[in-house]
Symmetry: C2
Amino acid sequence: MKQRETATIEDVARIAGVSIATVSRAVHHPGKVAEATRKKVNAAIAKTGFTANAMAQSLRNKSSKMILALVPDISNTFFANILLGLEAAASRRGYGLLIGNTENDPRTEATYLNYTRSNKADGIVLMTGHLPYGAAEVRQHLPPIVAACEAIPDEYVPFIGVDNRHGARIGVRHLVELGHRRIAYISGPASNILSIDRLAGYEEALGQMGLPVDRDLILDGDFSIEGGRLAVERLFIRDSLPTAFFCANDDMAIGVLLALSKRGFIVPVDFSVLGFDDIPFSSCTTPPLTTVRQPRRLIGEAAMEKMLDMVERKPTNEGPVILPVELIIRGSTGAPGGFGLSRAI
Amino acid sequence: MKQRETATIEDVARIAGVSIATVSRAVHHPGKVAEATRKKVNAAIAKTGFTANAMAQSLRNKSSKMILALVPDISNTFFANILLGLEAAASRRGYGLLIGNTENDPRTEATYLNYTRSNKADGIVLMTGHLPYGAAEVRQHLPPIVAACEAIPDEYVPFIGVDNRHGARIGVRHLVELGHRRIAYISGPASNILSIDRLAGYEEALGQMGLPVDRDLILDGDFSIEGGRLAVERLFIRDSLPTAFFCANDDMAIGVLLALSKRGFIVPVDFSVLGFDDIPFSSCTTPPLTTVRQPRRLIGEAAMEKMLDMVERKPTNEGPVILPVELIIRGSTGAPGGFGLSRAI
DNA sequence: ATGTTTTATGTAAAGGTTTACATTCTTGTC
DNA sequence: GACAAGAATGTAAACCTTTACATAAAACAT
């Protein structure tokens, strides 16, 4: 038997002895086709192993059933977990997920933006904190867009994530309640919206607890482990040290932990360290990290639901979707006062 | 001015005053079109902001310029780094990467397999260790497939990865050279090809160094942190302990580190721990993990190159692509003999 | 039996490209 | 100046679906 190329709807129609229109209907609107015919068609489909050509469908339907997720870095476990949620929700609704790794490179962003212009994707979920490069120029032709985790400033793009200010507030409050009075804030990039929101929460919490904000205790980082490490080094040049570190994300908190340990300090005896995000690895540090958890998978799922509602023009309530954060208390925070003690041993 | 839908090739042709065939040629075979005409066409393209409809192209060309990567778990940093390489190589050659998270679920695998049958993807990079569910039935219609990291047993599918046996050998040799005589092997799932290869390397190394293989020191794990933890617990029920642990991957090594630390042991004084992979976090454990590094990004790039050569029918030498491993010595391995010492303090 | 409604099926267009083939125009050769 | 070869462009088919519309058949009402 000759090896046939993959069967088309025409092959099915011929074998079933009906027109191609009927085949299509039997598949998509079974109610509109007589019972007997439907059976013949299904038999023919089974026999040929027919699978509709998705490209032809997309062309005809002007919809690819694909959603593009734009991330600065897939290998970042924080994003990876969001992607898991996005994927789950997408496939539940019959959509596929296209993942674009931008590395914050404008050219890459522009390339991916073209995916929607060329109909490869029906919408974009942004985790980059900004519209893709080139989006402003084609504003009229923009597809549905939502922002997960990191809100897009200035633009009207629905946001799905957590209340970062509130998260920072409960974290810092926890430190204050433990007795800390001098708490450093290790920020992400200064212009980053997450950095800014979490800083605001930090200041608010201090204010509410009647503590002053000491500008010297606010340091810029970059959300990386190395950034956390460096912040500690810079701080230790000064004369007046904090007793606790609130880091704008877990990666930096890990860096802080590492730097402190290298200097011979014991956490949480000498210093407390608090992170943000609760990435999977946070429970494996020494000591395990106390942190503010973001429900990453849920964020991903909610973002995708919103996206698909937009794509399918379902009624969706305007405004952001805010999911709850949770303070996860582990071993890296404790009462202050041991400072110098452990070191003296 | 009325808001036009995205421009088609026809709009461009009209504005440039040429036929659509000429527009297409001007774009894809500029040499076949007169200089003057080409300019007119380019001007028209710029004016309309034309982007070719990728679906129509795919339909016509029978190629989507997309490659599907199948992974059991995107959130695993090991895979994430491979994906980075896949993506980089793909986009260098004008292809997009579609990522499928299978969770080893047969239905999900079958769904993704359909992506190629329906022309959504031109080929599949497998990191699942087995052909996707449903592949056997449609063997004739299978697209180009390559296996990255984890070879596919029984099937002829090009493999791109490292020599796992060799990697295990150099790791274990390192331990033996440090003076260890009783080395435990914490395996992945028993049927997993990686587990098997690394076990073989472990046994070979012991043999070469004139040491016996003690079956009691070989424990099943599952490549997870928890699995590493449990292996330690199971081992500590026995009377004769090893002085070192060789773990089939870093996650389990981290679990071992955690379990040991919880029991009050100091690594590497009481025990040495060796991992495999060198995931990003391995340098952040306490102590930092000694491990056998796989060049993950390179593996991803090589796998994609191979894939695209197959898709584009370029001549590609048969057989696997084996990349070098590297022993990364950090703080979790050292000479044995301190056993019980640190604990006594 | 006739006419009307409902149901089932078929015909053909449309969706946007690319390219084989046909046609027209240039250029060059003798 | 006639003719051949080569270059530039156009025409139309093909890729595979879905669906509006047309038609045919069946069911029903009178």
